[in-house]
């Protein structure tokens, strides 16, 4: 009985994740996007912790803690600082208008559920039903990366994708081995700092973080 109760909370958090993914897709301002990203991290961390508690997989606590530390505290803080220092908090210009993006997003969700069906049937975890949501979040983050022009939004899209992949790992297999999760977290952290340096380089050279300036290298 207790297990079904926990499961419902996990399902609720999964639904929240999907909702946040859609909210990110429709968000126009970078600061709000960072906030949403932090919330996504929080939902992910909470659901991981609940799965850890209800199934007794202790290494998942580490994973939840790591997510909380990196994706709810360190990275959003870093991004807020970056946005302030680089002064880029204007409207994000999307390449497609928002309603069209949302419609494509809905189609992607349906596609993701179909794709996840055979795998989740094979899975033995109690959380298998959320695998479809995880895949949908991956695809939505991907869509966000494609349709946005600012460098910072692309990176947030990339990190959202990484969040969703972690969620997929938790729902299909109760998380990857700890050493791998630590390694992935380290890579992501280093990656974000490398990008921080990189943003300043881009701005110094182009006076903007808009990627339209960066379309010179093409096959002629």
């Amino acid at each position: 009985m207790a297990l079904t109760y926990h499961l419902q909370v996990v399902n609720l958090l999964a639904a929240l994740l999907l909702l946040i993914s859609f909210a990110m897709l429709s968000q126009r301002r970078i600061v709000n996007l960072v906030t949403l990203f932090a919330w996504q991290g929080a939902a992910l961390s909470a659901s991981t912790a609940i799965v850890a508690w209800s199934t007794g997989q202790h290494h998942l606590y580490w994973s939840a803690g790591l997510t909380l530390l990196l994706k709810v505290i360190v990275m959003p803080w870093f991004f807020y600082r970056l946005v302030r220092q680089l002064d880029v908090n204007r409207d994000v210009e999307a390449m497609l208008n928002i309603p069209t993006t949302m419609l494509i997003g809905i189609a992607l969700v349906i596609f993701a559920f179909n794709l996840a069906l055979p795998i989740s049937q094979m899975s033995g975890t109690v959380t298998r039903s959320t695998l479809g949501i995880a895949m949908a979040c991956v695809l939505l983050a991907f869509l966000m990366m494609i349709t946005r022009r600012k460098a910072i939004t692309q990176v947030i899209g990339f990190l959202a994708m990484e969040n969703s992949l972690f969620f997929a790992a938790t729902s299909a297999t109760y998380g990857m081995p700890l050493v791998v999760e630590m390694g992935v977290a380290l890579d992501v952290l280093v990656g974000v700092f490398v990008l921080g340096i990189f943003f300043f380089q881009i701005r110094e050279t182009f006076d903007s973080l808009d990627l339209r300036h960066m379309e010179k290298l093409k096959e002629r």
Partner: protein, 484 residues
């Protein structure tokens, strides 16, 4: 024991050079650390040759067999010669004012970290750590590609980061699926992603999941190999980064990414029983060969042209491994060696040529044979070697690949032959005036240090004429590990 030295030396080198900064002799220290890494690699190789495959550390963190020890040796060797080449090259770049001391510090430190990440990717037994180190290798090189801080180089580095980042995220999903399949057989925990364990139970792994996992792994690591149509980052990153970085990206990183695909393929083949993985690799490989060959014709930037040539050759190697079987795998491994050695040699020569001419545009580089015969001959011989003219080793491996294709997949032969022909005409037609064309420029006062070029080309020539028996045995063992 050697394995810890092998990984520890470049890592320590990265830290040390970051602290040492722009004090005197930093380039020499860089070369020294690379030399020590090469010695450790040689010791490891000697041990594998003597004792056979080994599993080292804890639950079996490292696994070294004939397949990866050969790549370890190759990586350490090219890393060392590139460090030798970069010493005078980067000094001249600094004199030209394209680099300052601070960026050189970044360059030296990242270079060592990059080598360490690649060696970790090659020696680790854990498919998850393999992913982690591939990503670390990308991160170490992003800031190297943008080292000149020109608009074009920043764009190239951004493209490199985002495309490879998305690609590698696919590979992470593939790894998750692999773990998902493995966990059912091996139980959860750290050992379920160890390649040796997976290899032992590969016949029991769920074929559908593994099939899906392989698709994601191929797309993910394939982006880093530069397989068409995922190759967009590669020409930009090679053309805009400093030449030593182009040389190691082309000569080493692509190999390491392909190694990850090969390890995955062995698992899928075992689970599946049919040749789905091989078919996919053949398809992507063939597409890369054909597309790259026709794009070579349209290039005007010399480094870009040779970057497309790398795509072509990686495609050919992927195609060979896709065919499978002892001869094709042997040829693939041989071609991997030849391509690494030849392509890095070409980039060394091209680096000096562009430095003297002050431009990367091929129209601006003329008459190298008059202004500097060493560079001219280096570039000409390198190009001839990469185009597969006998007696260079590339001829032997390409010949083996094409004859095997004729036997087993006759439909692919015309595509391969036409593509190689087009690439030949395009590259030769463009290199010829660069070397023998008319020029008004005077002879250069000083000789460039091009010993690495001729060492590499000498090895390629030697392997084309005669492969020592122990080396042939070694290649055969490695090919057998690939299921040949």
């Amino acid at each position: 024991m050697e394995i810890y030295w092998l990984l520890g030396i470049p890592l320590a080198g990265g830290v040390f050079l970051a602290l040492w900064g722009n004090r005197r002799h930093a380039p020499e220290i860089n070369a020294l650390f690379s030399l020590l890494t090469l010695i450790a690699a040689a010791a490891l190789t000697a041990r594998i040759v003597e004792h056979g495959p080994i599993i080292v550390g804890g639950e079996g963190w490292f696994f070294i067999d004939s397949l990866n020890v050969f790549l370890v040796a190759l990586t350490a060797f090219v890393a060392f010669t590139t460090a030798l080449f970069s010493r005078p090259y980067m000094r001249i770049e600094q004199e030209h004012g394209r680099l300052n001391a601070q960026r050189l510090r970044l360059y030296h430190s990242s270079y060592q970290v990059f080598i360490a990440a690649m060696l970790l990717a090659l020696t680790t037994n854990n498919m998850g750590i393999l992913w982690v180190s591939m990503e670390a290798a990308t991160l170490a090189t992003v800031l190297l590609v943008s080292l000149y801080r020109t608009p074009a180089s920043l764009e190239a580095a951004w493209k490199y980061f985002i495309l490879c980042g998305v690609g590698i995220a696919q590979a992470l999903f593939g790894t998750i699926l692999l773990y998902f399949a493995a966990e059912k057989v091996l139980g959860s925990g750290g050992t379920a992603l160890l390649w040796t364990h997976l290899n032992g139970v590969k016949a029991q792994l769920e074929p559908t999941v593994l099939q899906l996992a392989f698709v994601f792994l191929l797309l993910g690591y394939g982006t880093k190999v530069g397989l068409a149509p995922l190759h967009n980052w590669l020409p930009d990153a090679h053309a805009e980064g400093p030449t030593p970085v182009s040389a190691v990206l082309s000569g080493l990183l692509l190999n390491v990414a392909l190694y990850a695909v090969m390890r995955s393929k062995v698992l899928v083949d075992g689970a599946q029983g049919n040749n789905m993985a091989g078919g996919l690799m053949m398809g992507f490989g063939l597409l890369s060969v054909v597309l790259a060959a026709f794009l070579i014709k349209r290039q005007s930037d010399v480094k870009r042209m040779f970057a497309y040539s790398s795509i072509e050759h990686m495609g050919l190697i992927t195609f060979a491994f896709g065919m499978g079987g002892p001869v094709a795998s042997f040829a693939g491994l041989l071609h991997m060696t030849m391509h690494s050695l030849t392509k890095s040699a070409i980039f060394f020569a091209v680096g000096h040529a562009t430095q003297k001419a002050g431009t990367q545009s091929m129209d601006g580089i003329r008459g190298l044979i008059k202004t500097n015969p060493t560079i001219g001959w280096g570039l000409m011989l390198g190009s001839i070697a990469i185009l597969g003219v006998p007696p260079f080793g590339v001829f032997a491996s390409e010949f083996l690949i094409i004859t095997t294709a004729m036997h087993e997949h006759a439909w692919a032969t015309p595509f391969l032959v036409v593509a190689l022909g087009v690439a030949f005409a395009a590259i030769f037609g463009k290199v010829q005036p660069m070397v023998f064309g008319e020029t008004e420029l005077p002879r250069l006062p000083h000789q460039p240090a091009l010993a690495p070029v001729f060492i590499h080309l000498g090895l390629v020539l030697m392997l084309g004429l005669f492969i020592p028996p122990y080396l042939a045995t070694w290649y055969r063992q490695a090919a057998a590990l690939l299921g040949g």
